[in-house]
Every structure is written in C-alpha cells, then in structure tokens.
C-alpha cells in the first residue's frame, strides 16, 4: 500500500476524516481551493481493463472457473450394465492455442489463423480416471484432449495475453486492436452482448389482457422455467406450462403443505386489505372442497399436461411443484417452506401493486436487465456439447456390452470418438446459430463478422448490445431513453430505423459483472445478523420495521436493522473483504435488501464521498501520476467503488465535487463521478462538444463515424480482408476529444481535415453537398486505395513442378500475353 501520510502540499483541508469541522457560514461561503483533477483515473482505468474488458473478463471467467464448474457437475459417467466401469473427470483446463498437423502439435498465432482460414482454437484438456475390463483395473490418464475450443483474442488462453507492443508486432498483431473476438475459419467473429430480463427475480407487470401478473423466470444449472401468478376476475391463479389449466393459488399453497387459510394470510401479511383481496381465492378453494394437501395434489394431478412415462398422473404434480414451479428456490429434504414463503412474497408484491400502482416493476429499467456475454454463451454451448459427448460415450459402451464382446472397451477410447466439442463450438460461432435443445434455446445471429470498415467500426461492434426478443415494432417503451441508463449505456449511440433504441451501446466505463461464489457471501449475511428464513414463522416475516434480505433473488431471511446491515456489507466491500462487484441495495418501498453477486449486471466505478467530500485527494492523484498507485489500489483502499444500477438508487451522485448543486445538501452526496464524459460510449466520444448539438445529430454521427475511411489497424497491409478501403493521406483531427486520445483514434485516424468555405451564393444555396477544388483531388485529397482479396490454389505437381504466382505479363503494346490471366 502506498504511504497514506498527509502530504504537506495537499491543498484541500486535510484531517476532516477525523473530526469534520462544524460548518459555519464563513467556512461554507469560502471559496474552495482548486478542485482535484481526477481525469487521470480514466486512462488508468482503461489501462487496467482495456476497451472491451467485459468480453474478455467474461471469457476469462468461463475458461478459468465456469468450465470447471460444468465438468464438476457432470464429472462421472458409468456403463449401464456395470457401474464399476466408469470414467471420472478429475480436472479440465485449456491448453495453448495450437493445431494438430500430422500428429504433431503446432502452436498458432491469431494472425496466422486469419491468413490461413483456420480457427484460432486451443485444446480442451482433461485429466481422467477410468476403469478397464471386467477386473475394473483403475487407470489414470492426465492431459487428455477432448476437443478444441475457439479462443477469444487477448484472453488468458490467448498467446497475446500480457504482451507488449513490440511482442505484438512480432506476432503480426496491431497493438491498438482491442481483442475480445474469435477467429473461426479465418473470419473474425464477435459474440454480441445480449440483453435480457433478469433471471430469478419477481417482476410485477400487467399482461396484454390487462391482468396483474407476477412472473419469475427461474434459471439454474439443471432447469429453466417460467412461473406466472396472475389475477383473473379478482381470483388468483398459477399458470405453468405443465398444467392444462390455471390452478387457484390457494390450492397450490395447500399442495405445498400450508393447509390452513390463516397461515396463508399470515405469510402474505396481516394487513386486512390483503385478506380482502385474497378472500375470493380462498372461497374458490373452499367451493372446490379442497381442504388437505392430499386433496390439493389430487386436484392438480388431474390437470397435468404430460403424464410422463406410463401415463401415471399420480404424484406428478408434487414433482412439478418441486422441480419446475419457481425452480430456483431449492427444496431440501422435501421441505417446501422456502417455496411457500417465496410464493407468499410474490403474492404480497402482486397485491401491493393492485393496491398501489406505483409498485409495478418497469421492465425497461436497466436494473432489471442482465447482459449475456460471450463467456456465458460459450459456456451454455460447451455444457450442452460436453453432456452430448458423454451421452454418446455411454450409449456406445452400453451397445458394446450388450453385444458382450470379449475385448474390453474403456471410456477413454469413447469420449473423443466424435468431434462433438470441436465441431459444435466451431459451427455455432461461425454461423451464429445457438441451437441448444437441452436449454430450449434457438437463437440466430448471436455472433457476427467483426466489421473492419474502420477502426471505429470494429470498436463500436465490440460495445454493441442487441435485444434478446420482442422486436415489437409499435411499443415505444423499450426504445425510449431510460434514466437508469445514465453512465451505463450510451445515450447517443443507437441505430436509426427498425432497431432504434433497442440496440444499444455500452458507455466508456461500464463494467459487466461475472458470477461470484455465493456460499461465503451467504454466510457473511448470516453473521451480520440476518435471521434465517427457516426459523421464522409466517407472522414474523413481515413484522413491521424488519426488511427481507434477498440474495440473488432468493429469500435469505430478514433483518431488523436494514440500514446498518447494508452499511456493514458496504464496508466489507470497500475494504476488499468481499468482491468489488457485490451490490447492496436497500429497497425502502418493498421493505427489502437486495444483495446481488450474479453475472451480467452493469456497473460503473464512482468516487466515494463522505458528506460530499471526495475521498480521492490531490496526493492520491499525485501518486497515480508518479506511477506508484494503480486503479486497483484506489478500489482496494476504498476510495472508489463499483455501483450497479440498483445500488445507484441508494446513492446521490454529484457530477463535480466543488460545484454547488442546486437544492441539494452537499452533506447528502455519497458519490462523485470520475469524469462526466464517460457517460458517452466510445463512438459518441469522438464528437467534439456534443452538448452543443441537437441531440439526433449526435446519434447520426454515431452511425456515420464508423463509415469514415482511413487506417484500420497497424497490420492492415498484412491482412487479407475480402475488401479493404484505405485512405492514402489519413490525418489526425485538428480538434481531438479526450476519448479520441483514450481509444487511440489519434493513432489510427480516419478522414482528412478539409478547408471548407461556407458562403451564401446568390441565395440559391446547395444543401448537404460541397463543391470541390479539382487540384486538391489531383494532389491527393481523399485519395483512397481499395484492396480486394482473390483466392487461388497453388498446386505442387511431381518432379519439382509447382504453380507460381506472378504479375501479369504484357507484350510491347500492353496486351496481355496470356489472356486467361486475371488482372
């Protein structure tokens, strides 16, 4: 840790950490000495994280942790006839990018793959333990390759990781290229960021018939399901695909073991207004003469859609309730209580919304969104392929043992028999079709060819967010600019026309989280005074003054001092005891505290302020400039923290520290922006003085900036793009913005600085056109080079004869000597 002594030259009043001086009129009115220039934090941030950090982080998470979790969950396969014949995966990891050529392994570089139409992929290596033959002799095989996986450029598995400029040049790579994409069969493919609604969260909304519904999309490693509770004719029903008809919710509660109506009402809450709204539902249940759990289950069994093998309906509904209904809430040892409480909370939220329409959830609110990145998408694909490969192996083993062949087979020979993983991953990334039957996933256009029209175009591609479903053209809601987008998604950069407002772009400092381990956090919550749900009665849960603690959408318990609990959690986060991306959000309206550590949340760094005074002081910035403090040190020392969209609701963020904000008490400010310009994205950052423009002009420029011709990369002449336009005399703009310097656009400029005379000519003016000076064109203004790729095969015949590529030969008159030559 750098020395945090009070620097003698620090201009701002130090020592306010100990005893904040009592503000007097004089001290408040006194001019504040020069504000701390925090701009240097921005380049420091980008240096640590890079421009497309979210892609690379996500992929890194997958290859270091995610892939291991998948294999650990499916680590053993056995023969059906003899469980003694098995194979167990002990470890899995990704090797160095390489290809197999004639049983020899050769390491490859990204540029080599681009030029030779190869896939930049690395072996997926497992350590296995398996038994052979009837004697079940145990064997171990370390470093066994089960397939090849395309590797994201600049990820941990990539050869370019951590290389400096000179080394990158040696690999034929442009140092300004951000990475974050894949090379599949020579084509650069980006897996676009996918936007979707939060999983495992209760959303209160109205459906197209105007009914109030509470819905949860559950997603765990095993199952994905959608649970909808809706109110129809003032009665509440459960809708689930597995049932032919909507089931009255009270029946569901009874089926889960809450047999008395009193208990149900207690769980929902004792407010008589809730009881009034529940009255008709309870009555309906009574008229159906359902009083016991048994009767309830019987009733539900009759309405099961698919009866399962043997058409036995008995007991199906209990299984459905256990495995499908709000599937993310676990049922341990047949204990349905957590599910009951969760259902009750859903009901309560729903009834709240009926009583007070303010409490409806906004589907467009960014806090209710999750971004799915390449790591997660590849992870889904890999999980499916890995399981498929194992199923194949088991099938073969079974078939083999059925035939009772004498030669003993073992699993290690079977798992690699087909190229399941290699070809599956390659096909999905190169076509962009994510068809995963296991997860009912059929998506098209997930990956796209990285646009190399200009440097900006490729950068813009990497920050693009595409909407998951619903291209419902009419609705304006999802297209409108959301206030919660502030600082997270660029307000300017969106296409015109069809996808306007649906396709978005990340802002400059946005970070997208990856999953974090839940166990330790859960334990921490309990030790900070969260009362365990299983110890509470329905009555106690909603006791006034206490808040429910929700952890990644699950109800953990309740806490009597919510603010204190939240502060404690935040202190732990700021001191680095728990992950910096854990979010703590106190929802006063719902009497809830949401702790989130799941992946896909957007968040951004902010300077922490104590009573409106930034913790980042001049001496910190000096240390940063001197190179003895990095951005991560700022995080570790609790000067800066990441807030996600939900937690921002508990913060009051000032743009600048020393500027008086109208009508806001300075002491109530909790955070200060690092640099207000970061609310724009990379592409919008090119516009000089954007705040002086009419807003759609900025949006137009975001689309057009990518079309500017210029230089696309330092290695542009060594690339083999099918079509490449280069400007002969590209120039750096005379007026650069801070973003331009940060993203390196000043080094890979596009366009030329033209001298333009603007004048009215006789009143008959031309619009949107220029008259150009011919001599300037003659002298090279706007001169461009178009490069095209032609593919030929160069064959080698015997006797040392081979094809040769040469320039076309002409005779004296300039006529081609051989007419079949292509010029």
């Amino acid at each position: 840790m750098p020395p945090a002594t009070s620097a003698p030259d620090a201009p701002v009043a130090e020592g306010d950490a100990e005893a904040p001086p009592v503000p007097t009129y004089r001290s408040l009115a006194a001019p504040v000495s020069n504000p701390v220039d925090k701009f240097a934090l921005l380049p420091a941030f980008l240096k640590v994280r890079g421009l497309v950090k979210e892609h690379i982080d996500s992929f890194n998470y997958f290859i270091t942790k995610g892939i291991k979790n998948i294999v650990r969950a499916n680590n053993r396969i056995e023969a059906r006839s003899d469980p003694g014949i098995y194979l167990e995966y002990k470890n899995i990891y990704i090797g160095e990018p390489s290809v197999q050529v004639d049983f020899r392994v050769e390491t490859i570089t990204p540029h080599f793959c681009r030029l030779t139409d190869r896939t930049y992929s690395a072996p997926v290596i497992v350590d296995v333990e398996y038994t052979v033959g009837k004697t079940h002799t145990q064997h171990r095989k370390p470093s066994f390759t089960i397939g090849y996986m395309p590797i994201m450029l600049r990820s941990y598995a990539c050869v370019l990781n951590g290389k400096d400029e000179a080394e990158l040049a040696r690999y034929g790579e442009c140092p300004l290229d951000p990475g974050g994409y894949f090379i599949v069969k020579g084509a650069e493919k980006v897996i676009l960021i996918q936007e979707q609604l939060s999983k495992n969260r209760i959303i209160i909304d109205t459906d197209n018939k105007g009914r109030v519904i509470a819905s949860v999309t559950s997603s765990t490693h095993e199952v994905k399901s959608k649970t909808v509770i809706c109110m129809e004719k003032e009665k509440i029903y459960l809708q689930l695909n597995q049932f032919t008809k909507a089931i009255p919710i009270i029946v569901v509660m009874k089926a889960m073991g809450i047999e008395t109506d009193q208990e149900v009402v207690q769980m929902v809450g004792r407010d008589p207004r809730y009881a009034d709204l529940l009255y008709l539902s309870i009555q309906e249940c009574a008229t159906e003469r359902i009083y016991t759990q048994q009767q309830a289950l019987q009733y539900m069994d009759d309405k099961v859609t698919y009866a399962g093998a043997g058409n036995i309906k008995d007991g199906r509904s209990k299984l459905i309730l256990r495995d499908v209904f709000i599937a993310h809430v676990p049922v341990n040892n047949g204990n349905f209580q957590p599910k009951c409480i969760y259902t009750a909370v859903m009901l309560r939220r729903m009834l709240d919304a009926i009583l007070n329409s303010d409490t409806f959830d906004d589907k467009d609110y960014v806090g209710n969104k999750r971004l799915e990145l390449s790591g997660q998408l590849v992870s889904l694909l890999f999980e499916d392929l890995f399981k498929t490969m194992n199923t194949y192996a088991v099938d073969r083993m079974n078939k083999n043992s059925d035939m009772a062949r004498s030669s003993p087979l073992d699993f290690s020979q079977l798992i690699m028999q087909q190229d399941v993983i290699t070809s599956g991953l390659e096909r999905a990334i190169s076509t962009g079709n994510w068809d995963i039957k296991r997860f009912k996933m059929h998506r098209k256009g997930v990956s796209q060819v990285l646009s190399r029209l200009s440097y900006m175009a490729s950068l813009g591609y990497m920050t693009r967010i595409t909407p998951q479903f619903e291209k419902t053209r009419k609705t304006s809601g999802p297209r409108a600019l959301q206030p919660s987008q502030w600082g997270m998604l660029c307000p300017c950069d969106t296409p015109e026309g069809e996808a306007c407002g649906l396709t978005k772009n990340l802002a400059l400092m946005t970070h997208v989280t990856t999953d974090q381990e839940e166990g330790p956090l859960r334990n921490l919550c309990f030790s900070l005074g969260v009362e365990d749900l299983s110890l509470l009665s329905g009555e106690e849960i909603h006791a006034p003054g206490s808040f429910l603690v929700m952890f990644n959408g699950l109800i953990l318990g309740k806490h009597r001092q919510p603010q204190k609990f939240a502060n404690n959690m935040r202190t732990f986060r700021r001191s680095g005891k728990i992950g910096e991306f854990v979010s703590v959000f106190v929802n006063e309206k719902q009497h809830c505290i949401h702790i989130a550590s799941d992946g896909g949340r957007v968040c951004r760094p902010l300077i922490i302020a104590d009573k409106g005074r930034a913790r980042v002081k001049e001496h910190h910035m000096k240390e940063l400039r001197d190179g003895i403090r990095s951005f991560d040190d700022f995080l570790r020392d609790g000067l800066i923290e990441y807030l996600d969209v939900n937690e921002e609701n508990n913060a009051l963020i000032a743009l600048y520290e020393h500027v008086d904000q109208d009508g806001v008490q300075r002491s109530s400010i909790t955070h200060i922006e690092i640099e207000p310009m970061t609310l724009l994205g990379v592409v919008a950052g090119l516009i000089p003085y954007p705040h002086h423009n009419q807003s759609p002009r900025n949006t137009y420029q975001c689309a057009m900036g990518k079309q500017a011709m210029g230089n696309i990369a330092y290695n542009q002449l060594f690339r083999a793009d099918s079509l490449l336009y280069l400007l002969v005399y590209a120039q750096r703009p005379l007026l650069t913005t801070k973003t331009i310097e940060l993203v390196g656009y000043d080094k890979l400029g596009a366009g030329q600085n033209a001298t333009v005379a603007v004048m009215s000519y006789s009143g008959y003016d031309i619009e949107d056109a220029i008259v150009m000076n011919k001599s300037s064109l003659d002298r090279g203004f706007g001169r461009c080079i178009a490069m095209k790729k032609y593919t030929v095969t160069s064959e080698k015949y015997g006797d040392g004869i081979s094809d040769r590529i040469a320039k076309p030969q002409r005779n004296k008159d300039g006529v081609l000597i051989k007419q079949n030559m292509r010029v």
Binding site: V728, S775, R779, G780
Partner: protein, 331 residues
Amino acid sequence: MERSAAGASYQRFPRVRIRELKDEYAKFELKDTDASMANALRRVMIAEVPTVAIDLVEIESNSSVLNDEFLAHRLGLIPLTSSGAMSMRFSRDCDACDGDGSCEHCSVEFHLAARATDSGQTLEVTSTKDLRSTDPKVCPVDQQREYQQALGNVDAYEPDAAGDHRGILIVKLRRGQELRLRAIARKGIGKDHAKWSPAATVTFMYEPDIRINQELMETLTLEEKQSWVESSPTKVFDIDPVTQQVTIVDAEAYTYDDEVIKKAEAMGKPGLVEINAKEDSFVFTVETTGAITAYELIMNAITVLRQKLDAVRLQDDDGDLLDLGAHLTGG
C-alpha cells in the same frame, strides 16, 4: 486587322511594370486593361502553361510500405525543370513515336533504384538523391538547384540559400526493402492534372485608390486618429510623427475590408476616407513551383493566351465570328 463589320474597336494597349522579379517569384502591375484580360492571364498561368511531369511509372520491384499507385502519385507531383516544355511535343500528337509517348521529342525517362542495406537505418528515398533523369535538362527542381549552387550560380536574392535541401521525400525504406522503377515524364498542362501546373499561386488584385479627406481628418484629435488608423486590420495608414498627419504607408495592404470606412462612420465622420478600386489596374503576384521561372511563366502564359486567341481567329475565318460580330453590333 481592322474589321469594319465589328464596328467599334475594343483594342487597348496594356502596360506592364515589373516591381520584383526573382527565380520563383514575381510581382508586377498590369495597367490599362480589363479584369477579363487579367483573369485570363491568371487562369492560363495556373492551368495552361505546359510543364513536364512524371506520367507513367513502371515498377519493377517495390517492397516498401507504400503501394505502387501511391508511389506513382507521389512521383507525379514532383516538379521537374521544364524550361524546354514549350518546345516539346504533347505525346498524344507526337508523330515520331506514333502517339506512343516514348520518344525523345515528347518524353523523358527516369530511373529510380534504392535499397536499404542492412545498416539498420531507415533510408529516405528523395527526389534529389535517387531520382535519375536521362535528360540533363529535365530533372527534379531541387537537383537543379543543387547543381546551380555547385556552380556558384546562387541567386543572390534567394533568402533560403542555406535552407533545407534534402529534396522531396518519396518514401522511407526499412532494412531490406527495395524500390526499383522506371518512369516516363511527359509534357502536359494543369488543366489535365494539377501536377503539370507550374504555378504555386497566382493572384491579382485591383490597385486601390485611397483618398484621405485631410481637412476632415484634421478635425480629429490625435487619439482619434490613432484609433482610426488602428482600426484597419492591415497596416495601410500611419501618422506622421512630425506633422501628425495621417498618411498612406501601403495602399496595397488594403484588403477591401471596409473597416476604416465603418470606423469613420462610427466616429460620426463619414467621408473621412474614400477608397475605390482602379478597375483597369492590377497588381499580380506570381509564385512558381520551380518547374519554370516566374519570368518564363508569365511569358509562356502570354504565348499560350495568344495561341488560344489565334485559334479563335482561325475559326473566325470560317465565318462564325462574323455572325457574332454582326449580332453584337445589332446587325
């Protein structure tokens, strides 16, 4: 010459006074003629005085970072000494080579061969060092200057005799890179491509006629005079330190910006100064690229202009202009 049908003669007898004449720069006055004539002269100087420039490049080997077309364009823009261009033939109507554009009457061949050795230093390929001409009369202008300097024929008025004489950079070669090519320079005019234009800038202005109303001026205080004088963005007027009279120091520095007139009006003294453009008097400024001298440029421009007029007159014999003349006189 006298043409009764055309009626009144518009013939005038322009006068030229040379103010300054250097190799690449000239300033002269053209009087007793019209703007049409002055502008015709200007445009001919820019676009129709022929020079020689590289027009065809055959690349034998190019392993530099710049591609062939890029280099060919850069070579074309190098100014070549073109004193003989007037007597050369346009390759399109050269009989000797049948329009092929490769005989000595219409073309000059150039060679360039450069290779960066393994010294590790970047080699700069320049117009002085590497571009070799087969005709000593036609060579890159900075080679010519070096030659003249070696002979001691340095223009005494040349202010930048000690300036940068590295020539024009064509391309930089890194270790192991090579450039070999053959280029053919041909005669052409700026109208076809700016590389054949011998003029860097040619401008003319109307000579201003400034008359100060000294009587009215004397009603001003010294401070007022000072502020009026300073209202001109260029230094046109000054105050005589002895007589404290406002004098004209440089009438031609006036840019027709009307600032002093507006200032006088703002001071409540309209008519303090009267400025008119003399519509038959022009001040020309000519700068050349070095391909030909400024003197040659002016003289050749007059020759070309005369040839063009001759062409009109020849057409006239066909009777076209007679009709036009008749039309003009209202016949």
